[in-house]
């Protein structure tokens, strides 16, 4: 048993406000792995790295710093389950550490607001913390092996890039998420363009829906062609994209081609650890998980 670690849990926007079922699964599973979560009360939007950062970089840096300051005050590193939020905090911290004058600029914005911020705090993605435990450790918790389940993993972009400012050993063709999926007994399948974007970021989902969901469609087609039973992601915004795009695509086509269940990693792991679908929010999906759950639960 590894020692318990405590993190300040940063929720962001999409997870608590659109996919609370994902939040629920994280709150159920992480403490069972010895990862304790403390709410980061009063946190705001991270803010989004491709959206708000595209409009006003100084505002993005100041608000990101405020969220980091809340964690700094709590005395824990920040943990997030969204690649976008992760990208914001990693990039904000790099900017502040490489350019001390930017930290001074932020502190000036904070003047008189009672926010103490030195930048002495780190931000982690929850999959990074789970992977640090190791796939072998995860295997030990599995009581309901997901044997025979064909999983298409979707890493997303900001989890991996820019690789200079990410903790992974490799810069391309990562395997950590595949390893964690296979620790549950499932099979992580090969499919074309596994590392490609979901199409939601950079404000494209908000401003150009046809282009955005066409990128998601290409990924979904590649997964379906490879015979995937389920898509597993680790980002609330990618999750939104794959959940919401499928009914949109079906409506456009006038048929139900796109019905690939979309699970967040902690939902998959929770199932393998013997938790009930209700505990993991699995009955509240946009794309129905029923047939899949019937198969897994027998």
């Amino acid at each position: 048993m590894t020692e318990a670690q405590t993190y300040s849990f940063f929720l962001g926007c999409v997870m608590p406000n659109r996919f609370p079922n994902v939040e629920k699964s994280i709150r159920e599973v992480l403490p069972r792995l010895g990862i304790e979560l403390e709410d980061l009360e009063g946190a705001s939007c991270c803010p989004a790295p491709g959206v708000i950062r595209s409009f006003s970089e100084p505002t993005w840096l100041a608000l990101a710093s405020r969220n980091l300051a809340l964690a700094e005050k709590a005395g824990h590193d920040l943990i997030t389950g969204c690649n976008g939020c992760y990208g914001t905090f990693k990039e904000a911290l790099a900017t502040l550490h490489e350019n001390p004058e930017r930290l001074t600029e932020v502190q000036k914005v904070f003047k008189g607001l009672g926010i103490k911020f030195t930048g002495n705090v780190d931000a982690k993605h929850l999959i990074e913390v789970i992977y640090a435990l190791g796939p072998e450790e995860i295997k030990k918790r599995v009581t309901r092996p997901l044997t025979g389940l064909r999983v298409a993993v979707h890493y997303g972009c900001h989890l991996l890039k820019p690789s200079k400012n990410r903790p992974w050993k490799k810069t391309e063709r990562h395997t950590f998420l595949d390893e964690l999926v296979e620790a549950t007994g499932a099979e992580s399948i090969r499919y074309r363009d596994k590392y490609m974007c979901c199409g939601a970021g950079g404000g494209v989902r908000g401003s150009n829906v046809p282009v955005s969901i066409d990128i998601a469609r290409e990924k979904l087609d590649n997964m379906l062609e490879a015979g995937a039973d389920v898509l597993v992601d680790v980002c609330s915004f990618c999750h939104l994209q794959f959940e919401v795009s499928q009914p949109q695509l079906n409506k456009e086509l006038g048929e139900n081609r796109y019905q690939l269940p979309v699970m967040y990693y902690t939902q998959l792991l929770g199932l393998a650890m013997g938790l009930e679908p209700d505990q993991l929010g699995l009955n509240k999906h946009v794309v129905s998980t029923k047939a899949l759950l019937d198969r897994i639960l027998g």
């Binding site: 970089e57 608000l63 820019p162």
Partner: protein
Amino acid sequence: MTSPVAPEIIDDEDINPEFVDTIVRAGADRIRTCIQCGTCSSVCPSGRRTAFRTRELIRKALLGLKEEVLTSPDLWLCATCLTCLERCPRQIKVTDAIIIMRNMAVEEGYMLPQHRKASRKLIKTGHAVPIDDANREMRRELGLQEIPPTTHASDKALQQVQEIMRRTGFIDLIEKAERE
């Protein structure tokens, strides 16, 4: 003999030599080393299905075609997947350059209406995607706090976030006259 295709003429007044200096100063410091190899365009998921060409955008920026770049809707097709930045053989921070140009476009009043709308939500609630009734109910059903413990649950925190956005000029930026 005249060509049947009208030549594209770049007038002197279209060239703003300071444009690229601004981009370099804001952090995309290697942009001048671009060799127009097109790696950025070839790995771009948006470029696969649209006429958006990252290479062209970078070339226009280097030529100083400020107005053309900042008014182009293509500037907003980048999903910030960072693949071009990762693969560029000259290690140009391509995505950063695009974000810098987007900041300049917004500063000049060029902003897509949906983006203005999301920004207004951030100003009003502290979240670009705020809670709604359906998700409050779902949270309750899941046994989570109905209102997430964010700026949604604290007026004091929200006011602090709003004051920061006032100080950085974000509120003025979003509310100033729109140019489409």
